[in-house]
């Protein structure tokens, strides 16, 4: 589908000769299902398609469903969404708190506390892309009986953007301005035209906490708020008890604002343990209804599924497991800085070596024997939503081709079988975090490299160190004092703008910025920088998508980044549990609609 085709379709929607649903269907047919389908319509002046993205809710009355038991092998430690370091805490908060809208699995917005999704048509979106106006649902009550209103929404903006609160959601709120229009309307204003407007008050960083209970704790005393541990929200279940790091219990909220919901009378979320035994507790013994994030080798999951009690759910998102080839030299110090941007990696500066490394990664084997359904092989760094997926990239596993490339480039084998050129030996340190599938992947890459005359020393760093922001530690992934490293990066929104900034030159991680920059591979490319800047201000969604695809092709084409497998979220549930999952939002994003089929 070309840009022109798309424009014609959009025009037809505006004229009314094509229904909005029909439009989304056609887009889906050509791989455009993304949230962008909706956004396309919204921005070009057509209202969003009615969300058909959520399956029908069958129960005809509230309650009566007994207990819903969920197992998390990492445990929640607090219940304030603005302090939710990590997914488990977000999930636990999501039981009680709700955002204005959430992301459904197909990337469309689904209204929760909003009366409707803003669009140009309903005058929610400004044509210049500088503001969005949310209409709030009326009659929503907090669990303590108080009314929910625009004041609460505005308060959340003030709370989250305050550095003294030290919340983690600050990034979504500090650059916007929020205005109360009336009791049930708020307007979010942007400093510049913003193609992706659905960030503040949406999904995991948009959970709304009650003003009347938090207003006295909206500064440096934020952590003293009793409600941090005894949440009062608007959600389908209300608080019963919470033991940090262990168990969270909730019960049906009889005044929930959506009819006939929820189905279950009580809810419990147990935390702790490990992923394999969590899978066992659902799939093998059926002690629990749902187990979150089963980071387990697929082989094991399949065998557990054979018990016939439960099934494994795979939900696509934007997560990607990939290898980085350092663009700078980790073994050379310039002014006391290792891997300084003023150095070049002695081996990886040769495109032939990078090409060879790419040939040496057997992505097929990774998919087939390690990740299974939890990790389909991919040639792209940017895979989802589908409209941003490049079709230009290919991958191939061939030790022979790797050898040929290296031979042609003059890397000759030494007596020990290791290739060298001008005194530089192909001997790399390959680091990653401690994690069984990653160690397996390391072994597979190492063996293939060996056959191409490349010696790889494996190193695994415990995750809490590897992923820390500790400036003093040399083993963190942002320092990348190794030749190669591997990890997963996630994409929390159905939009790639934040995701793709990890290769722009001003984000290069270095001593000057305390290794806080997001460009960890330290790759520089003028075209990439230019294209990224262009995409930031591009309101035309079609052009914008093309720009992101170009960025993907640039970084993947350089082979400094070798995408391995996509990482959809994998969970387990009993066969009779009807849940609604989404790769773009929390597991519990629509917990109100879960029920059990009898």
């Amino acid at each position: 589908m070309t840009e022109n085709d798309l424009r014609r379709l959009l025009a037809r929607v505006k004229e009314g000769t094509l229904s909005r649903r029909g439009f989304v269907k056609r887009m889906a047919a050509v791989g455009f299902t993304a949230p962008m389908a909706t956004q396309l319509l919204a921005i070009t002046g057509a209202a969003p398609a009615a969300a058909q993205s959520v399956p029908e809710y069958k129960p005809t009355r509230r309650g009566g469903g007994g207990a819903l038991k969920i197992l998390y092998w990492q445990a929640a430690t607090l219940l304030n969404p603005h302090f939710a370091v990590g997914t488990t805490n977000q999930e636990a908060s999501r039981v009680f708190y709700e955002p204005l809208a959430g992301w459904a699995a197909d990337g469309t917005l689904y209204p929760i506390l909003a009366a409707e999704i803003p669009s140009v048509e309903n005058r929610g979106l400004a044509e210049d892309g500088r503001s969005v106006t949310w209409k709030l649902k009326r009659g929503v009550k907090w669990h303590d009986g108080q009314d929910f209103s625009a004041d609460d929404v505005v308060f959340n903006w003030e709370y989250a953007r305050n550095p003294a609160v030290a919340g983690v959601s600050i990034g979504s709120y500090r650059d916007v301005n929020v205005v109360k229009v009336d009791d049930y309307t708020v307007r979010v204003e942007f400093q510049k035209p913003t193609p992706f407007w659905a960030d503040a008050f949406v999904a995991s960083r948009g959970l709304i906490i009650p003003k009347h209970l938090f207003k006295d704790y909206a500064g440096s005393n934020a952590r003293d708020a009793p409600t941090n541990l005894r949440p009062v929200g608007t959600g389908a279940y209300r608080y019963v008890s919470f033991a940090p790091g262990d168990m969270l219990r909730a019960e049906l909220n009889p005044n929930y604002h959506r009819e006939n919901r929820p189905y279950f009378d009580t809810l419990e979320i147990k935390g702790g343990g490990d992923a394999v035994s969590a899978a066992r507790a659902v799939l093998q013994t059926g002690d629990f209804d749902y187990a979150w994030n089963l980071a387990v080798e697929d082989e094991i999951l399949k065998r557990l599924e054979a018990a016939g009690r439960g099934k494994v759910n795979i939900v696509e998102g934007g997560g990607i497991e990939f290898i980085q080839l350092n663009a700078t030299d980790p073994n050379q110090e310039v002014d006391g800085e290792r891997a300084s941007i003023r150095t070049e990696h002695p081996a990886f500066r040769d495109p032939a070596v990078r090409q060879a490394m790419s040939y040496l990664v057997d992505r097929n084997a990774l998919e087939q024997f390690i990740y299974g359904r939890g990790g389909p092989a991919t040639a792209n760094f940017l895979n989802n939503p589908p409209r941003f997926r490049s079709t230009n990239m290919r991958w191939e596993f061939s030790i022979q081709k790797a050898n040929e490339v290296l031979d042609a480039a003059g890397w000759a084998r030494g007596r020990d079988g290791i290739r060298a050129k001008n005194g530089t030996r192909l001997k790399f340190v390959f680091q990653t975090s401690v994690n069984a599938p990653r160690q397996r992947t390391q072994a597979i890459v190492k063996q293939a490299a060996q056959r191409a005359g490349i010696d790889i020393e494996l190193k695994s760093v415990t995750a809490s160190v590897f992923f820390s922001a500790d400036v003093a530690n040399p083993d963190t992934y942002t320092k990348f004092f190794a030749d190669m490293q591997m990890y997963t990066t996630t994409m929390p929104q159905a939009d790639p703008q934040l995701f793709m900034n990890q290769y722009v030159s001003w984000e290069i991680s270095s001593k000057a910025n305390n290794w806080q920059g997001r460009n960890i591979v330290r790759w520089r490319n003028e075209e990439y920088d230019r294209v990224y800047r262009e995409a930031e201000g591009e309101l035309d969604p079609v052009k914008r998508a093309a720009l992101f695809i170009r960025m993907n092709d640039l970084i993947v084409g350089s082979n400094h980044v070798i995408p391995l497998v996509k990482r959809p979220t994998v969970s387990g549930s009993l066969n009779n549990l009807r849940h609604i999952l989404s790769g773009w939002d929390n597991t519990h994003w629509l917990l109100s609609d879960w029920y059990r089929e009898t």
């Binding site: 197992l71 983690v168 990034g171 008890s241 940090p244 002690d287 992923f467 922001a469 990066t489």
Partner: protein, 319 residues
């Protein structure tokens, strides 16, 4: 004796302070921070992480942080968990009962196995009983708890379906049913820990009893025609208790500290799992509080052991 006790107690204070300084330094210097999960999330700007570190005081010089910790500790404030943002003492108190019940029971079980088996095996060295007991003990401590735990789960929870393997602190039952459920869910963790500990202790008890069983006063007692059981209990066991008391005293603080691996396998919300998650998240206030209490218990129980030595063997003098 009394004077000795007073002196030791007085010495305990500076030694605790010294230990706390070292603990604090180790924790402050140890790499990592509590924001692992924020790291790979592109929506969280790096400066947010830097701010968080600063707001938790993680970038202040160590000595300032130590003084701050010590002064609040002296006022009875245990500090706030970085991760949960609630007072540390609440976190610990929440988990203390479970830990004491499960770990305490396992230690009692270990002792209940080790004492009789060890003593009986030593009175009949190289008998069939001794050989079987020894071999079982070897199996006991050559298999790590992560493995035996899993074996028990496979057998009793998955194959037979008799016992639950997810520990719950809030059983929805009262009276007898509550006790029964509690028993069912505790038995596997208690067995795993108790058997592992018991196996090692059995070996020590056996060895200690063998050491005294042929001592002269035992031979004398035997020649006086005292019944064998009296000899064993009065003359042998008491004299063999010194190593056992030492080991038990070493193990007692663990009843507070919990058992990390076993708690993890069975999802027992004890202090051990609190400590490990705190360590993995670099939640320094929690680690500091738990290890400091642990250190206090170590000192206390070792002191207790020293005093018990004198009771067990009156010839030991305190200098």
């Amino acid at each position: 004796m009394f004077q000795y006790l007073i002196r030791r107690l007085l010495i305990a204070i500076p030694s605790l302070l010294g230990i706390s300084v070292i603990l604090f330094t180790v924790l402050a210097l140890a790499p990592g921070d509590p924001f692992e999960e924020l790291a790979t999330n592109p929506a969280i700007p790096p400066e947010v992480r830097a701010n968080l570190r600063a707001s938790l005081g993680m970038d202040d010089p160590i000595h300032l942080r130590y003084v701050a910790w010590l002064t609040s500790m002296l006022r009875g404030e245990w500090g706030f968990s970085f991760v949960s943002r609630i007072p540390v003492d609440q976190l610990i108190l929440q988990r203390l009962p479970t830990t004491i019940i499960v770990i305490g029971a396992s230690q009692v079980l270990a002792l209940a196995i080790a004492m009789p088996v060890g003593v009986y095996a030593a009175t009949r060295p190289y008998s069939l009983f001794d050989k079987v007991a020894n071999t079982l003990a070897f199996v006991g401590f050559s298999l790590p708890t992560f493995f035996t735990g899993l074996l028990l789960i496979m057998l009793f929870s998955i194959q037979l379906g008799w016992l639950p393997f997810v520990f719950r602190t809030d059983i929805e039952a009262t009276g007898w049913r509550w006790w029964w459920e509690m028993f069912r869910q505790s038995i596997m963790p208690i067995m795993v820990l108790g058997l592992f500990q018991g196996a090692a202790w059995t070996r020590f008890v056996r060895s200690a009893v063998l050491d005294v069983i042929r001592l002269d006063h035992v031979t004398t007692a035997r020649s006086k025609g005292l019944p064998e059981s009296v000899i064993t209990l009065k003359h042998v066991v008491r004299n063999a208790m010194i190593p056992v008391v030492t080991l038990v005293a070493l193990q007692m603080p663990v009843v507070f500290g919990g058992a990390i691996v076993t708690e993890q396998i069975f999802r027992v919300p004890g202090i051990g799992s609190l400590l490990i998650s705190a360590i993995l998240a670099n939640d320094t206030p929690v680690i500091m509080a738990v290890t400091f209490v642990f250190a206090t218990l170590v000192i206390f129980f070792n002191l207790l052991a020293d005093i018990l030595y004198g009771w067990l063997d009156p010839r030991i003098s305190y200098r």
